[in-house]
Symmetry: C2
Subunit: 82 residues, 2 copies
Protein backbone atom coordinates (compact mmCIF):
# COMPACT_ATOMS: atom_id res chain seq x y z
CA UNK A 1 0.00 0.00 0.00
CA UNK A 2 1.05 3.60 -0.47
CA UNK A 3 2.32 6.07 2.09
CA UNK A 4 -0.33 8.74 2.70
CA UNK A 5 2.14 11.17 4.26
CA UNK A 6 4.40 10.92 1.23
CA UNK A 7 1.32 11.25 -0.95
CA UNK A 8 0.36 14.49 0.74
CA UNK A 9 3.67 15.97 -0.30
CA UNK A 10 3.03 15.00 -3.93
CA UNK A 11 -0.60 16.14 -4.02
CA UNK A 12 -0.06 19.89 -4.32
CA UNK A 13 -0.44 19.85 -8.09
CA UNK A 14 -3.71 17.91 -7.79
CA UNK A 15 -5.33 20.49 -5.53
CA UNK A 16 -5.84 22.94 -8.36
CA UNK A 17 -8.59 20.81 -9.85
CA UNK A 18 -9.49 18.32 -7.14
CA UNK A 19 -9.52 20.79 -4.23
CA UNK A 20 -7.08 21.21 -1.36
CA UNK A 21 -9.06 18.63 0.64
CA UNK A 22 -9.87 16.34 -2.26
CA UNK A 23 -13.33 17.81 -2.84
CA UNK A 24 -13.35 19.59 -6.15
CA UNK A 25 -14.99 22.96 -6.78
CA UNK A 26 -15.60 22.15 -10.45
CA UNK A 27 -18.48 19.82 -11.43
CA UNK A 28 -16.42 18.08 -14.12
CA UNK A 29 -13.58 17.16 -11.75
CA UNK A 30 -14.21 14.24 -9.42
CA UNK A 31 -13.95 14.37 -5.68
CA UNK A 32 -11.06 12.18 -4.56
CA UNK A 33 -11.50 12.40 -0.78
CA UNK A 34 -12.45 9.05 0.71
CA UNK A 35 -12.37 7.28 -2.63
CA UNK A 36 -11.14 3.66 -2.70
CA UNK A 37 -7.31 3.69 -2.86
CA UNK A 38 -7.15 0.75 -5.26
CA UNK A 39 -9.65 2.45 -7.57
CA UNK A 40 -7.59 5.65 -7.52
CA UNK A 41 -4.44 3.66 -8.35
CA UNK A 42 -6.19 1.87 -11.22
CA UNK A 43 -7.58 5.14 -12.56
CA UNK A 44 -4.17 6.88 -12.49
CA UNK A 45 -2.56 3.88 -14.16
CA UNK A 46 -5.29 3.86 -16.81
CA UNK A 47 -4.63 7.53 -17.59
CA UNK A 48 -0.89 6.83 -17.65
CA UNK A 49 -1.35 3.87 -20.01
CA UNK A 50 -3.65 5.82 -22.33
CA UNK A 51 -6.61 3.58 -21.48
CA UNK A 52 -8.79 6.58 -20.79
CA UNK A 53 -9.50 9.04 -23.58
CA UNK A 54 -12.08 11.72 -24.18
CA UNK A 55 -13.31 14.43 -21.85
CA UNK A 56 -10.89 15.43 -19.13
CA UNK A 57 -8.64 12.47 -19.87
CA UNK A 58 -6.67 14.83 -22.06
CA UNK A 59 -5.82 16.80 -18.92
CA UNK A 60 -5.18 13.82 -16.67
CA UNK A 61 -2.96 11.79 -18.97
CA UNK A 62 -0.03 14.26 -18.84
CA UNK A 63 -0.42 14.51 -15.08
CA UNK A 64 -0.24 10.74 -14.69
CA UNK A 65 2.52 10.28 -17.25
CA UNK A 66 5.15 11.65 -14.87
CA UNK A 67 4.16 9.51 -11.90
CA UNK A 68 5.97 6.41 -10.74
CA UNK A 69 4.06 3.44 -9.33
CA UNK A 70 5.14 4.57 -5.85
CA UNK A 71 3.90 8.11 -6.50
CA UNK A 72 0.59 6.64 -7.63
CA UNK A 73 0.30 4.39 -4.57
CA UNK A 74 1.20 7.27 -2.22
CA UNK A 75 -1.27 9.70 -3.85
CA UNK A 76 -4.02 7.08 -3.75
CA UNK A 77 -3.33 6.36 -0.08
CA UNK A 78 -3.38 10.06 0.71
CA UNK A 79 -6.65 10.94 -1.02
CA UNK A 80 -8.45 7.86 0.21
CA UNK A 81 -7.45 8.87 3.75
CA UNK A 82 -9.24 12.22 3.52
CA UNK B 1 -29.92 17.90 -14.65
CA UNK B 2 -31.06 14.42 -13.84
CA UNK B 3 -33.89 13.27 -11.60
CA UNK B 4 -32.44 11.63 -8.48
CA UNK B 5 -35.71 9.86 -7.61
CA UNK B 6 -35.88 8.33 -11.07
CA UNK B 7 -32.20 7.48 -10.75
CA UNK B 8 -32.80 5.60 -7.52
CA UNK B 9 -35.19 3.33 -9.36
CA UNK B 10 -32.54 2.58 -11.98
CA UNK B 11 -29.67 2.08 -9.53
CA UNK B 12 -30.53 -1.41 -8.27
CA UNK B 13 -28.15 -3.07 -10.71
CA UNK B 14 -25.31 -0.74 -9.61
CA UNK B 15 -25.61 -1.69 -5.94
CA UNK B 16 -24.02 -5.09 -6.50
CA UNK B 17 -20.62 -3.50 -7.02
CA UNK B 18 -20.99 0.06 -5.79
CA UNK B 19 -22.92 -0.72 -2.61
CA UNK B 20 -26.57 -0.11 -1.77
CA UNK B 21 -25.64 3.37 -0.49
CA UNK B 22 -23.03 4.13 -3.14
CA UNK B 23 -20.09 3.09 -0.95
CA UNK B 24 -18.54 -0.01 -2.41
CA UNK B 25 -17.34 -3.00 -0.36
CA UNK B 26 -14.73 -3.90 -2.95
CA UNK B 27 -11.47 -1.90 -3.16
CA UNK B 28 -11.42 -1.95 -6.98
CA UNK B 29 -14.91 -0.48 -7.31
CA UNK B 30 -15.23 3.25 -6.71
CA UNK B 31 -17.51 4.84 -4.21
CA UNK B 32 -20.16 6.84 -6.03
CA UNK B 33 -21.91 8.48 -3.08
CA UNK B 34 -21.44 12.24 -3.08
CA UNK B 35 -19.39 12.20 -6.27
CA UNK B 36 -19.83 15.15 -8.67
CA UNK B 37 -22.88 14.47 -10.87
CA UNK B 38 -21.25 15.88 -14.01
CA UNK B 39 -18.20 13.69 -13.44
CA UNK B 40 -20.40 10.62 -13.03
CA UNK B 41 -22.24 11.49 -16.26
CA UNK B 42 -18.97 11.97 -18.13
CA UNK B 43 -17.58 8.70 -16.78
CA UNK B 44 -20.67 6.72 -17.78
CA UNK B 45 -20.65 8.31 -21.24
CA UNK B 46 -16.94 7.49 -21.59
CA UNK B 47 -17.63 3.83 -20.77
CA UNK B 48 -20.57 3.84 -23.18
CA UNK B 49 -18.42 5.38 -25.95
CA UNK B 50 -15.57 2.96 -25.39
CA UNK B 51 -13.28 5.74 -24.23
CA UNK B 52 -12.29 3.79 -21.15
CA UNK B 53 -10.56 0.45 -21.54
CA UNK B 54 -8.49 -1.78 -19.31
CA UNK B 55 -9.16 -2.84 -15.74
CA UNK B 56 -12.80 -2.83 -14.70
CA UNK B 57 -13.79 -0.93 -17.84
CA UNK B 58 -14.59 -4.31 -19.33
CA UNK B 59 -17.31 -4.69 -16.69
CA UNK B 60 -18.62 -1.13 -16.88
CA UNK B 61 -18.88 -0.79 -20.66
CA UNK B 62 -21.74 -3.31 -21.01
CA UNK B 63 -23.52 -1.71 -18.06
CA UNK B 64 -23.29 1.72 -19.65
CA UNK B 65 -24.10 0.51 -23.16
CA UNK B 66 -27.78 0.06 -22.33
CA UNK B 67 -28.26 3.44 -20.70
CA UNK B 68 -29.93 6.42 -22.35
CA UNK B 69 -28.66 9.95 -21.71
CA UNK B 70 -31.63 10.42 -19.36
CA UNK B 71 -30.79 7.23 -17.46
CA UNK B 72 -27.21 8.48 -17.12
CA UNK B 73 -28.32 11.91 -15.90
CA UNK B 74 -30.78 10.36 -13.41
CA UNK B 75 -28.23 7.86 -12.05
CA UNK B 76 -25.61 10.61 -11.71
CA UNK B 77 -28.11 12.84 -9.89
CA UNK B 78 -29.05 9.99 -7.58
CA UNK B 79 -25.53 8.91 -6.57
CA UNK B 80 -24.27 12.45 -6.17
CA UNK B 81 -27.18 13.07 -3.80
CA UNK B 82 -26.08 10.33 -1.39
Amino acid sequence: AGDAAAGKGKAAVCAGCHGANGVSMVPMYPNLAGQKAMYLENALKAYKAGQRTGGTAAMMAPQAAGLSDKDIADLAAYFSSL
